[in-house]
């Protein structure tokens, strides 16, 4: 009677728990979506940064022209005169997703514009990512840990920074694809079902479509398989989880044009093939071990080892020779710079110069993952009790992502889901232990007053268990203490049958002896639960603050608070609008590569270099032009058919990310290809300065002149608010360029190349009559090659 009542109430509790967890997950999705809307509320629904503008332009093209034109699109408005094959060099996942959502909405007669869909793609997919985290952590540890991890991921600042509304970049969908792929892998590992293995391959395909970081998955999963084999956890489920993924995954990855044959030829994928061979060898060994006697198996191993090692050595030698014969040993530059962080600064200044590729500082860890930074070690410990395949995968994922996040600040984003999973596990285990202790003590208190039959105890436990319910944040942990409670009731019944004379006071003690290691004192549990809730509250507070203040700025619009209210700097859009309305459609605009995407998307003009940075020599050409004196720069730009030059200058308002601050990178990159540009020429005593002590080369280079032309007219002294001193050369005229537009706060300045002179005056005419040899002076109608 008592057991059936307990069972009935427990199944009701199960149902109640299920409904409650669905509601909680819905709320988590809503939180994830709304915490990313601060930028839309504070500024406007606009696309942020630089890279998202390119994605937005591609999505516009896709929505206008359809998918076949998109696959075959050759873009001639960038990288003039080279152009760019968009279909083959872009990761199509994000644009195809947003295009599909736009098409779906419009087919349902919901008239959303492409821009709205693009702006809100990231928050929607972050809600999906939170649900995927719930599924993944449920597979690793249990539903309670799943809900905690999902709640933490919905708000973690590191993920918010790259998926805020308006940040229409690859990571917005890629993180969801990453977590979902891992979930399906773990699900296949736990169930051994081939159906989930197929789904896993599809999720991996979606990940390959979305982001270049898919190489993380195709190297992490083989590492985990190897770890399982080495620690003796090989099982047939491991084979089913891994082998179909490699074959189907490689095929699907080769289907994406931007990856193509790299899926089988680059070193980033070789790890998966190696482990594919290893797992087949191990599977064969286990199979033979199963059908032979132990003695014969030993004989077989000695036979095979002697032959096998010889063959292996030969094969490995061939492979190593093949890979070592290529100069970068088969790895791409970006991957090499991940493994050897000093590689980029030595060999490829472009990769070293990207601000997102710098290593993170210590405070950024606490800013980006806050409380999780010290919950993660607790989670690692919780994963080891007990250790399963899934929890070993979670630990491996965390350790590798911590290493990579230390190399590049951009990869803190990959650390965020791992940290959330670990912290979710830690918090859920802690809550489980604490609430169990509290319930135990409370029922013990009630037991001491009721010394009757255990049936009544069963009732009292079921009624008393409902009391601590409001102390718990999730109802699924009631299952664990409930099971423990039922075990104790059963055990107590057995003891009552054995010793009838024993009173109820002694029984909880004996039962407590069996459970003693897992129960804490009551006061400690209550205080700990309260403190954990306060910790959670502090975390939420920090996340909301970070989302509102730190990560919601669309860098295209800047604001500052002054004594007379909010001041908005909209200079970038002002400049692009001017370009759009006051220049010819075919005019070429030269600027540093940071602004290429925005210029093509908003000003709709052809640019020379943009953020894709695939051609180092072309960027070095522009960098050399910016570092040369006016005449040489004019010649370089003229050879590229450039009409307008755009520079960003922050000296009047104190905007620190302007071109003068980025100028040394231009010198370094230019100097890497054209040796006549030497960095030392621009530094005085090793210091970079533009005041009166600056070098002659610095004061005469094009960047200086274009930034500070007529700057002295603003305040009479030429005080640069970013560098905080007066500039060196104040009064000068431009001979080869003319200023056509400067924005309201002098942040963007546009210059036009002056056409060549029709008449040659003075000295140059005499020398031209004398010899027709190459001279570096511009004049006459001949086009001279500026490179010799």
């Amino acid at each position: 009677m008592a057991t059936s009542k307990v069972e009935g109430s427990s199944s009701l509790r199960h149902a109640f728990g299920g409904v409650l967890s669905v509601f909680i997950l819905l709320l988590i999705g809503v939180v994830a979506f709304s915490i990313r809307l601060f930028s839309v509320i504070k500024y406007e629904s606009v696309i942020h940064e630089f890279d998202p503008y390119f994605n937005y332009r591609v999505t516009q093209f896709l929505s206008k022209n359809g998918i076949y034109d998109f696959w075959n699109w050759f873009d001639d408005r960038t990288w003039y005169p080279l152009g760019r094959v968009i279909g083959g060099t872009v990761y199509p996942g994000l644009t195809l997703t947003a295009g599909t959502m736009w098409k779906l909405a419009n087919s349902l007669n919901i008239p959303l514009s492409v821009e709205t869909v693009c702006v809100f793609t990231a928050p929607i997919f972050s809600a999906f990512a939170a649900w995927a985290t719930y599924l993944l952590t449920k597979e690793v540890k249990g539903p309670g840990a799943g809900i905690t991890a999902a709640a933490i991921l919905a708000m973690v600042p590191s993920y918010i920074s790259r998926s805020v509304a308006g940040s229409y970049d690859n990571e917005a969908v890629a993180i969801f694809a990453l977590i979902f792929t891992f979930y399906l892998y773990i699900k296949t590992l736990n169930t051994g079902s081939l159906f989930y293995a197929t789904l896993n391959s599809f999720a991996y395909f979606y990940m390959v479509c979305s982001w270049g970081g898919y190489t993380f998955i195709i190297n992490l999963i083989p590492m985990h398989v190897l770890l399982c084999i080495v620690t003796g956890r090989y099982s047939s489920r491991l084979y089913i989880a891994y082998a179909p993924l490699v074959v189907l995954g490689t095929l699907l990855a080769a289907l994406v044009p931007v990856v193509g044959f790299n899926a089988v030829m680059t070193s980033e994928h070789f790890g998966s093939f190696l482990v594919f061979i290893i797992i087949h060898v191990v599977a064969l060994v286990y199979y033979i071990k199963g059908i032979l006697t132990p003695r014969l198996f030993k004989v077989a191993t000695t036979l095979v080892l002697t032959v096998g090692i010889a063959v292996c050595a030969v094969v490995v030698a061939i492979l190593v020779a093949l890979v070592a014969s290529s100069p970068t040993k088969g790895w791409s530059g970006r991957s090499l710079s991940l493994l050897d962080p000093t590689y980029a600064s030595k060999y490829i200044p472009i990769i070293a110069s990207v601000s997102e590729h710098q290593p993170p500082t210590w405070p950024s860890y606490f800013m980006d993952i806050n409380v999780l930074a010290f919950l993660v070690p607790a989670g690692i410990v919780a994963c080891f009790l007990p250790l399963s395949d899934a929890s070993s995968f979670a630990v491996l994922y965390l350790v590798t992502s911590v290493y990579f996040s230390g190399v590049m600040v951009r990869l803190m984003l990959v650390l965020a889901p791992a940290a959330c999973i670990m912290s979710g596990i830690a918090l859920s285990e802690a809550f489980g232990v604490l609430t169990r202790s509290m319930k135990f003590h409370i029922t013990k208190y009630f037991e001491c007053s009721h010394t009757e039959a255990p049936a009544k105890l069963g009732e009292s436990t079921s009624t008393e268990s409902s009391a601590p319910l409001e102390n718990m944040t999730k109802s699924d942990t009631t299952e664990k203490p409930e099971v423990a409670r039922k075990e104790k009731v059963a055990r107590r019944k057995q003891k009552k049958e054995k010793e009838l004379t024993e009173n109820a006071h002694v029984k909880p003690v004996s039962a407590k002896k069996e459970k003693r290691p897992l129960v804490l004192p009551l006061e400690a549990s209550i205080v700990s639960v309260f403190l954990l809730i306060v910790l959670g509250g502090l975390y939420v507070l920090h996340c909301v603050w970070a989302a509102a203040e730190a990560y919601s700025a669309p860098s295209i619009v800047l604001t500052s608070h002054s004594h007379d209210g909010l001041h908005v700097f909209d200079d970038f859009r002002e400049a692009y609008a001017w370009l759009r309305h006051n220049t010819e459609v075919d005019d070429k605009v030269a600027s540093w590569w940071d602004y290429g995407y925005q210029t093509t998307a908003m000003a709709n003009r052809t640019v020379i270099v943009d953020n894709n940075t695939w051609n180092n020599t072309h960027i070095a050409t522009v960098g050399t032009a910016m570092s040369s004196p006016e005449k040489a720069a004019w010649e370089i730009f003229n050879s590229l058919d450039v009409k307008y030059v755009l520079v960003v200058f922050g000296g009047l308002v104190g905007y620190p990310s302007d071109d003068i601050n980025k100028f040394l990178w231009m010198v370094r990159i230019g100097g890497g290809v054209f040796p006549h540009i030497k960095e030392a020429d621009y530094l005085k005593d090793g210091q970079y300065r533009v005041d009166a002590q600056a070098t002659h080369t610095m004061l005469n280079c094009l960047m200086y002149k274009l930034s500070y032309y007529r700057f002295v007219e603003t305040d009479g002294k030429g005080f640069d608010r970013v560098r905080r001193y007066e500039i060196g050369k104040k009064h000068f005229k431009l001979t080869h360029f003319e200023e056509v537009f400067t924005t309201h706060h002098w942040m963007v300045r546009i210059y036009k190349l002056k056409p060549q002179k029709n008449r040659i005056r003075g000295k140059s005419r005499k020398s031209k009559l004398g010899s027709k040899s190459t001279s570096s002076k511009s004049g006459g109608m001949t086009h001279k090659n500026p490179w010799n």
Binding site: G192, L194, R237, Y239, V247, L251, L255, I291, L296, V299
Partner: protein, 178 residues
């Protein structure tokens, strides 16, 4: 291991040496000659013993090799016997796997002869063979009655999964074939 047996034989050789040493101080040359003779004798005997040991070792090696070849034969026989005991449906799956791998090897050989120009065709051909072999191995794992992890899985479900995955694989292959 084998030198231990020779130790007791060596001792009697050195017995005449101590009495001779008293006299060697009086008549050095003659005693030296006797000493040298003794040494030569001892050398000869030790060489003989070494030779005997070598022969013994060789015989032992031959026995071991014979044992190992015998073992190898025994091994192959027991493998064959154990494999013959597997049920027929598993043997059919194994045959299918062997066929798929053989086709893949033939394709690789053909590529080595003819060159790899439409590389996507070569890749899709080889990967389709390897892929279907892998899926068949997964099916074998799931259908095998000795496998305790999958005893709740009905073999029809395993076969349906196998068909589904093969469908997906071949869809991708046809897309990639070019």
């Amino acid at each position: 291991m084998t030198t231990k047996a020779t130790r007791p034989n060596k001792k009697p050789i050195y017995f005449p040496v101590p009495p001779v040493s008293f006299v060697s101080s009086l008549f050095p040359s003659a005693i030296n000659k006797i000493k040298r003779q003794n040494e030569i004798e001892s050398d000869l005997i030790s060489v003989q013993l070494l030779h005997q040991n070598k022969i013994r070792e060789q015989i032992r090696c031959a026995i071991e090799m014979a044992k190992s070849t015998n073992d190898a034969q025994l091994l192959i026989q027991s493998l064959r016997k154990a494999y013959a005991a597997t049920p027929t449906n598993l043997k059919i799956i194994d045959l299918y796997v062997v066929y798929a791998v053989a086709t893949a090897l033939i394709q690789v050989g053909y590529m080595a002869i003819v060159g790899s120009f439409p590389f996507n065709s070569f890749l899709s051909g080889v990967l389709s063979c390897v892929g279907t072999a892998v899926l068949a191995v997964c099916l074998r794992i799931q259908v095998n009655k000795d496998n305790k992890e999958f005893k709740d899985l009905p073999p029809e479900r395993a076969f349906a999964d196998f068909i589904l995955c093969n469908l997906v694989l071949h869809l991708v292959i046809m897309n990639f074939l070019g």
